[in-house]
């Protein structure tokens, strides 16, 4: 390595200083809290942790969280892909309105999002009496939790894909169409392979948020222990009961699920090494 300093190179103290500032910030804001979660959970040994996690209420919360993510992520994947395909590759009246609607869940507080569903589907809501008459339970039940989660996590996939698809233009799609490809073939053979990294990223973000959502779910859940509590709600309940080890044990499990998604992304990185270059 050459020791000569090129004119464009910043001095060593500046580079080291910036690096140190970033490392310090990451350490205080991210690594330390994450470590605290696991350290507090394990502060009284492994047994209380296992006990807290295997408690029936906790297992029910894990099941409900996974079920919520398992429904809302595929739903948002399909709708997100459709929405971004429509927005990025086509021109139509009301396009900017649609883009604003896609962004809406990001700008509305999750608590408000939850309240909207209570107002629509709750007992005093517009559809409440009709739902009650037909014995359909949405609010204070799993369907409400899933609906609120879908609402809150809707923008992730679309927001990842729209800029990517717009940047890639419609040339390749037009070429595919002129060569005789149908709309579906064009999407699966031309559009999707070029945005697959954005797609993976959007799904991972969507999944992380779906499992971690608190505000909106908290409003529609009714917090019936072991029935309508997801993992974040369960953590909060345990914490408010001063069961710190239990709260941090479940929180740790939630963190592990998030880390597992990150690991899945890293795995895909290895499987599709060449795909990386196409993003952004």
């Amino acid at each position: 390595m050459s020791r000569t300093l090129r004119p464009s190179e910043d001095p060593i103290w500046l580079r080291a200083g910036v690096l140190f500032a970033v490392a310090l910030f990451m350490g205080v804001m991210i690594v330390l809290p994450l470590a605290t979660v696991f350290l507090t959970a394990l502060s009284k040994g492994l047994d209380p942790v296992i006990e807290a996690i295997t408690a029936p209420d906790a297992l029910a919360a894990v099941r409900l969280t996974l079920l919520t993510a398992a429904i809302s992520v595929p739903v948002n994947l399909v709708f997100g892909v459709c929405a971004s395909w429509a927005v990025a590759k086509h021109d139509f009246a009301g396009k900017s309105l649609l883009i604003s609607l896609i962004d809406l869940p990001f700008s509305v507080s999750p608590v408000v999002a939850g309240l909207i569903y209570v107002l629509v589907f709750g007992l005093q809501g517009w559809l409440g009496p009709w739902l009650e008459a037909h014995d359909i339970h949405i609010i204070f039940a799993a369907p409400g939790i899933v609906l609120a989660t879908i609402f809150v996590t809707f923008p992730f996939v679309a927001r990842e894909l729209i800029p990517l698809m717009e940047a890639q233009g419609v040339d390749a799609e037009e070429a595919a169409v002129s060569l005789g490809a149908s709309g579906l073939a064009t999407f699966f053979r031309v559009t999707a392979p070029n945005v697959r990294w954005g797609l993976v990223y959007g799904v991972l973000l969507c999944n992380a948020r779906a499992m971690g959502e608190f505000g909106a779910v908290s409003v529609v859940s009714g917090r019936i222990r072991g029935v309508t509590t997801t993992m974040p709600l369960h953590v909060e309940i345990l914490y408010s009961e001063y069961n710190f080890v239990g709260a941090f044990a479940v929180a740790g499990l939630l963190c592990l699920l998030a880390l597992a998604t990150l690991a899945a992304k890293a795995m895909l990185d290895l499987v599709w090494p060449e795909g990386r270059a196409h993003v952004g």
Partner: protein, 358 residues
């Protein structure tokens, strides 16, 4: 090789009849009619915004007109999808599928066919090999588009468009993104490929030199209308409007007036038969200005500002005594004397195209 590339059916005639198309209330095509003869190589020439690309896309089925018809071999295909028309389309920026290899790109049009019309794997590979040879890219089948130069990418795009055995080949500024040398060699190659395949071909360009060199016939567009259609040299030698005279080929523009069939601008004069009296403009090609060393009747003195060009033709920049600038072209064949910078020469205009102004 050419025999196996010829499509089974005879070359097709393409007709666009009174096409109207507008974008956001701005008319892009204003009742445009065009006929491309079977097996012909035709150029759509015009400045940007003249509607030439829009017309090409309407013929391809990538845009649909508000009025008018598109006919392929007499059959109305105005609203047929691009796929049903059997067109091959080449884009200015190649539009290759970058996640696929060169061979996969070329085979794409065959791969997406419904099973009963899809050639076998062996047949597809054979077709890809033939096309790679046709566009001089043998052995490059496994490369990715990112590993190719611009010229090579455009060859892949051309091979991909030809793979589906199109009845009509459409090219949108196919050489627009390439540098001059590559452009020139690809031009020759397109001509060769056109002769090998015999497919009716229409290409868009804003480069008049490209249009004149490559095409059998040229259609000149301006503001969504066709100004002139004709053989390349016909459009150059007999422009029907001032716009065509100025746009196709180099020309000196002189503003003056016509009196009794004779055009005058300062001391310069030339025949303007058939043009009504009044203000007029003349377009004089550089080779229509003769230079003499000695004064002669009707010759106008001028100073040589600059000599340029190292080809068979030498360009001479001149300034008349009234300040008018002229560009002349003289053959470097020994028959004529090439003046030097600063010389005073005597110019005679031997031809030109005169059009009434306003």
């Amino acid at each position: 090789m050419s025999a196996e590339l010829k499509t089974g059916s005879a070359p097709l005639e393409v007709r666009a009849v009174e096409i109207v198309k507008s974008f956001a209330r701005y008319p892009a095509l204003n009742s445009v009619s065009l006929e491309v003869r079977p097996g012909e190589l035709m150029a759509l020439l015009g400045p940007s915004g003249s509607g030439k690309t829009t017309l090409l896309r309407v013929i391809a089925g990538l845009e649909f007109p508000e009025a008018g018809r598109v006919e392929f071999g007499g059959a109305d295909v105005t609203f047929a999808a691009a796929a049903e028309r059997g067109v091959g389309f080449v884009f200015q920026h190649y539009a290759l599928f970058r996640h696929m290899s060169v061979a996969q790109n070329i085979a794409f049009g065959l791969d997406v066919r419904p099973r009963h019309r899809r050639p076998s794997g062996v047949e597809r590979r054979r077709r890809v090999e033939t096309l790679l040879r046709l566009v001089s890219l043998e052995g490059m089948g496994e490369r990715k588009p990112a590993q190719l130069s611009g010229g090579q990418r455009q060859r892949v795009a051309l091979a991909r468009a030809l793979a589906v055995e199109p009845r009509v080949l459409l090219l949108d500024e196919p050489f627009g993104a390439l540098d001059a040398t590559v452009r020139k060699s690809l031009r020759r190659e397109l001509r060769r490929i056109h002769e090998a395949t015999g497919v009716t071909t229409l290409f868009v360009t804003h480069d008049q030199e490209e249009a004149l060199e490559l095409a059998d016939r040229v259609a000149v567009l301006r503001d969504g209308r066709i100004e002139q259609i004709g053989l390349a040299n016909e459009v150059y030698d007999h422009p029907v409007s001032a716009f065509v005279a100025g746009f196709v080929g180099d020309a000196n523009r002189l503003v003056g007036e016509v009196r009794g069939g004779r055009f005058r601008a300062g001391e310069m004069a030339l025949a303007g038969a058939g043009v009504r009296d009044g203000a007029a403009e003349a377009y004089v090609r550089p080779h229509h200005i003769d230079l003499g060393a000695q004064p002669a009747p009707d010759a106008v003195p001028a100073t040589v500002l600059r000599i340029a060009g190292n080809g068979p033709v030498c360009r001479v920049d001149l300034r008349l005594e009234d300040g008018t600038h002229l560009e002349a072209a003289i053959a470097r064949n020994g028959a004529s004397v090439i003046p030097s910078q600063g010389d005073v020469v005597y110019t005679i205009v031997t031809g030109g195209h005169v059009f009434a102004l306003g």
